[in-house]
């Protein structure tokens, strides 16, 4: 645990001024780019000048291109594959099928949940767009020409598209490749105390229940997936450049799949154009490019098209949930019960720690102090792409937060209580931390009411409540709705003993090397896809070593040079690798102290380090001091006899617990009774992620996640027709929010440091997407709650909102306003 190394460095509270910048009145940052300073990002220059190095920018001499032939059917047996016409295409070098991969023992690959997925279909297609064959050619256009000429003979089978259909007795069995599998049942899971929960429900004054679907989403990073595999027969070494959020674990899996020893594999994750969980799994394209490079002894590039990305790679959510609350008459929540039907697609390929088949969903009691809870889940196989990745989400916490925050609103309406008041009544109180939940989480710290109060004030809550009432009384064309979400997140997986990916413990790492001239290279086991690690981690080290942030370079994403780590997802980079960076820096500082003692001719016990100046000095004699730059020189040029030369440290950090960021979001919407359109009047987000490293980057992360929350709540949905055809499979049909759909966000924060994290930080990237969808849905429901509406499904498209309005007589017929308009002008509608 970190405290062995903290040397009295308890987490301190860093205070910021309202602009988020360092406050000279407090001890926030040391003015050289330390903790809490709004350092401009180091990574920006290459991106704004067009010099980023993304996967498709990588060029190798003699490089070939791979294009994948995909199934047009969702469920079909392959009778025959004819390669001959494809091989005749000018420039085509090879056509690979499962048969070819079988020769090299590469026909299948393990998913992150230890299911076995075909790299190229061996026998039966299980989802539309599944990989059937691969064409390798001299250029990209030739590869596509070849793919068009591969003739596949399919025997089309009946598909099963929804989890509900899949679990019916007469449903066709999708996974007949699994021995003994006679239905589409994937797994069952339960948590909590069923008996105690049921007993409370039987006795409770009030119970409420609601069914809600968290629809299938796709993370849809703007860069698709891709790889450049390069097997070097001279060194017997395979290098795979790939869009990976977790290069080290991918190296281990690649070794297991291919049989190539792990030290003969190098995974490089270059600049990655967004990940959001989509780039955690291994996809067949990566394996095919590696296999082709191995066989052909030439570099092979594979770049996915957008429709391939949405149709075949890891989707998110698809949890059909029933939520129930038991409460007293005065609104104290006593118990939570939930049952989930999960769609896992054709393979069990959810991306979450292996001992958590439902991810961290068991955090569904949220921010509330309840007596008992019970949750159960059944997952099914369907003829759709495998997935259930953690889209900007710590493994199903998004679904859990949606459930509890929606249910609290349902209860508030049932009891006719103010939704802010009912939350206040049920919050876990600050003096209850560390708090153990009924489902076994151990929350580190929190002050939920403070965040809610701040959000209420920022949102001008009372004003909008009055305005809402006025609109109802005046029978106005546009209704006001106010939605609240007071969420608690769980991030920063490990600890390693409970959390693992494919058996590897979820620790993370940092390696710091201070060079003779006083600057430093920092390497971390996590990997950025836009989160700003090159700046944030440099700030942590700058803070802990008193260095200038400009003198620190952060590297990541290369398994040949970086320490082993588990990667970036589940908001774990700051909680785990950020802790490793701080602890490694403190190890360097310890050694620096010894060198300082030698240089200043004093006992090591008498050397003090000043955080503000970054200098080491003799106790009681501040002028006898030495900087880290001079210490670095001494480490290489005049090292003390008691120490080894050099100034380096590495730390592998196994977190003692997870961290629990939280916040309160308030959304005010205006719902148009005529069109069903929803306008955002106010969007307030108050977050608490513990101590803040770079407020500018945090705010940017919040903005991005809120926009994705709006996408989830209002627009996004991967849809299928009855035949299993993806009908929302490209950007024409899978709608992402543009500048037009995003309102102005007002962000605020409170600071409740994590007591067990070396710098008191908690992680923040996912909070906005976890916390905002229930606030948005609560707001739209709130606009219609006076007529008894308790729920509306996402995405809340105008037609769906209008139908809901119409179901309770709140809709306005568009023709009414025409008549009024024309009546006013005395003109008649044109008859065209």
């Amino acid at each position: 645990m970190s405290s062995d190394f903290t040397d009295g460095d308890e987490p301190r509270e860093f205070v910021h001024d309202d602009d988020g910048g360092p406050d000279p009145e407090t001890h926030c940052g040391h003015g050289r780019g330390g903790m809490g300073e709004e350092v401009r990002r180091k990574e920006d220059k290459r991106f704004i000048t067009g010099r980023g190095n993304y996967i498709d920018d990588i060029k190798k001499p003699n490089m070939l291109f791979c294009d994948i032939v995909r199934s047009p059917h969702a469920h079909a047996r392959i009778k025959n594959i004819d390669k001959s016409r494809a091989l005749d295409v000018d420039g085509v070098v090879a056509v690979l099928t499962a048969e070819d991969l079988l020769e090299h023992d590469l026909a299948t690959m393990p998913t992150l949940m230890s299911d076995t997925q075909d790299v190229l279909v061996r026998d039966k297609v299980k989802f539309q767009s599944q990989e059937v064959a691969a064409v390798i050619a001299e250029d990209r256009y030739a590869a596509r020409d070849g793919a068009d000429k591969v003739v596949v003979d399919y025997e089309v089978l009946d598909p099963v598209v929804t989890a509900e259909e899949a679990l019916k007795d007469d449903a066709p069995v999708i996974r007949d490749d699994i021995e003994g599998q006679t239905d589409n049942h994937c797994l069952d899971w339960e948590t909590g105390d069923k008996e105690a929960t049921d007993a409370i429900f039987e006795e409770a004054d009030v119970t409420v229940s609601e069914q809600m679907l968290y629809q299938r989403l796709h993370p849809a990073p703007i860069e698709t997936c891709g790889s450049v595999a390069d097997f070097d027969p001279g060194k017997d070494k395979l290098t795979v450049h790939m869009t990976s959020q977790a290069p080290h674990i991918h190296r281990t899996l690649f070794s297991q799949v291919s049989g190539i020893p792990e030290h003969k594999i190098r995974i490089v994750s270059p600049d990655v154009g967004g990940g959001f969980g989509n780039k955690v799994p291994i996809y067949p394209g990566y394996v095919v490019s590696a296999a082709a490079s191995y066989v052909l002894e030439r570099p092979v590039k594979w770049i996915e098209e957008r429709s391939e990305n949405i149709q075949s790679t890891g989707f998110a959510r698809d949890y059909d949930m029933t939520g129930e609350l038991a409460a007293t008459e005065d609104g104290r929540i006593q118990a939570v019960r939930t049952d989930v039907l999960a769609d896992h697609g054709a393979y069990n390929a959810v991306a979450q720690p292996s001992k958590f088949p439902a991810g961290f969903f068991k955090i569904f009691t949220g921010s509330y102090d309840v007596d008992a809870a019970y949750g159960s889940l059944t997952a099914a196989y369907t003829n759709s792409a495998p997935g259930g990745v953690a889209y900007r989400c710590s493994f199903r916490v998004t679904e859990a937060v949606y459930l509890i925050e929606r249910m609290v609103k349902v209860l508030a309406d049932e009891l006719d209580m103010d939704p802010a008041e009912i939350r206040r009544k049920n919050f876990i109180q600050p003096d209850q931390f560390p708090y153990e939940t009924p489902t076994g989480w151990n929350y580190d710290s929190g002050d939920y009411e403070a965040a809610l109060d701040k959000a209420l004030e920022m949102a001008d809550y009372e004003h909008y409540r009055e305005e809402q009432q006025r609109r109802i009384e005046n029978d106005a064309d546009k209704l006001i709705g106010i939605g609240i979400s007071s969420f608690t997140e769980v991030v920063g997986a490990g600890p390693g003993k409970t959390c693992d990916i494919a058996g590897v413990e979820m620790f993370d790492s940092c390696d710091i090397r201070v060079h003779p001239t006083g600057n430093a290279t920092v390497r971390v086991g996590v990997q950025t896809q836009g989160q700003g690690h090159e700046t944030t981690f440099a700030q942590i080290v700058a803070e802990e070593l008193g260095m200038d942030v400009d003198n620190i370079t952060v590297e990541h994403g290369d398994t040949d040079t970086d320490p082993y780590g588990l990667g970036t997802y589940g908001s774990r980079s700051t909680p785990v690798a950020g802790a490793a960076a701080a602890v490694a820096a403190r190890k360097v500082r310890d050694k620096a102290k010894s060198i300082a003692a030698n240089e200043l001719e004093a006992a090591e016990a008498d050397i003090e380090w000043d955080r503000q100046s970054g200098e080491f000095h003799v106790a009681g004699a501040p002028d006898r001091s030495i900087t880290i730059t001079d210490i670095a020189a001494s480490a290489y040029m005049n090292h003390p006899a008691s120490e080894e030369p050099g100034l380096e440290a590495v730390d592998y950090y196994d977190p003692p617990e997870m961290t629990y960021p939280f916040g309160s979001y308030i959304v005010v919407v205006e719902v148009d009774r005529e069109t069903g359109e929803v306008d955002f009047e106010k969007f307030v987000a108050v977050d608490d992620c513990g101590n803040r490293i770079n407020p500018m980057i945090i705010e940017g992360q919040i903005h991005g996640g809120l926009a994705q929350g709006i996408g989830s709540a209002m627009m996004e949905h991967v849809t299928f027709d009855d035949n299993g055809n993806v009908t929302g499979g490209d950007f024409m049909n899978y709608l992402l929010p543009t500048a037009k759909e995003i309102p102005n966000f007002e962000t605020g924060h409170t600071v409740t440091p994590s007591p067990h994290h070396p710098i008191g930080a908690k992680g923040v990237g996912e909070s906005p997407l976890v916390g905002s969808p229930p606030a948005i849905v609560n707001a739209v429901v709130d606009a219609m709650a006076h007529e008894g509406i308790s729920h509306i499904e996402m995405p809340m498209t105008p037609d769906r909102v209008w139908e809901t309005l119409d179901s309770v007589g709140l809709s306005r017929d568009p023709s009414d306003s025409f008549e009024i308009e024309f009546g006013d002008t005395g003109a008649e509608p044109a008859d065209d």
Partner: protein, 170 residues
């Protein structure tokens, strides 16, 4: 290459085009089906032109053709014959200093993963050339053909406003 576009000798039909790319004249023999985005990325080595969807929605491939922004994934190289193309690489001054729009994107933290950034910078350039001091609503409309999945657009608006102010001062 394409079996559908063979010439009499059985080779692919190509056309000679001359395009002025970031001030430099480029002459090349290209297939009629070669997308402008691929021509710029692979023939001209301008990798700042990003391709995010290949169907004209995301806007990452936005470049300027004869002063107007276009989505280069929806255009063919042969259609650019005789045209002037400007990409994000052309914005940086010869001495390496940044264009005010690039500066503003950095200062306002208007990018995260950076993949959509080239397209946004080029869309902003056209927007500000047409309307040197746009309102917030005009910025939203001006940039609605580009998608950013990371920033939530707030800081992009700020960057555009800041770039407008910088360019007015120049």
């Amino acid at each position: 290459m394409s079996t559908d576009s063979m010439n009499e000798e059985g080779g692919p039909t190509t056309t000679e085009i001359t395009v002025t790319v970031n001030g430099t004249q480029v002459t090349a023999d290209v297939e009629p089906r070669l997308k402008l985005s691929d021509f710029l990325r692979y023939h001209c080595d301008l990798r700042g032109v990003r391709v995010g969807c290949e169907h004209g929605v995301c806007g990452a491939c936005t470049v300027e053709q004869d002063g107007a922004s276009i989505k280069s994934c929806l255009s063919y190289a042969v259609q650019a014959d005789g045209a002037k193309i400007e990409t994000v690489e052309g914005l940086t001054n010869d001495d390496g200093s940044l264009h005010p729009i690039q500066e503003a994107f950095h200062e306002s933290h208007a990018l995260q993963c950076g993949f959509c950034t080239s397209g946004f910078v080029m869309a902003t350039k056209e927007l500000l050339e047409e309307n040197p001091s746009p309102t917030r609503e005009e910025i939203e409309t001006g940039l609605e053909d580009n998608i950013c999945r990371c920033t939530g657009y707030q800081n992009i608006y700020k960057a555009v406003e800041s770039a407008a102010a910088k360019m007015e001062d120049d």
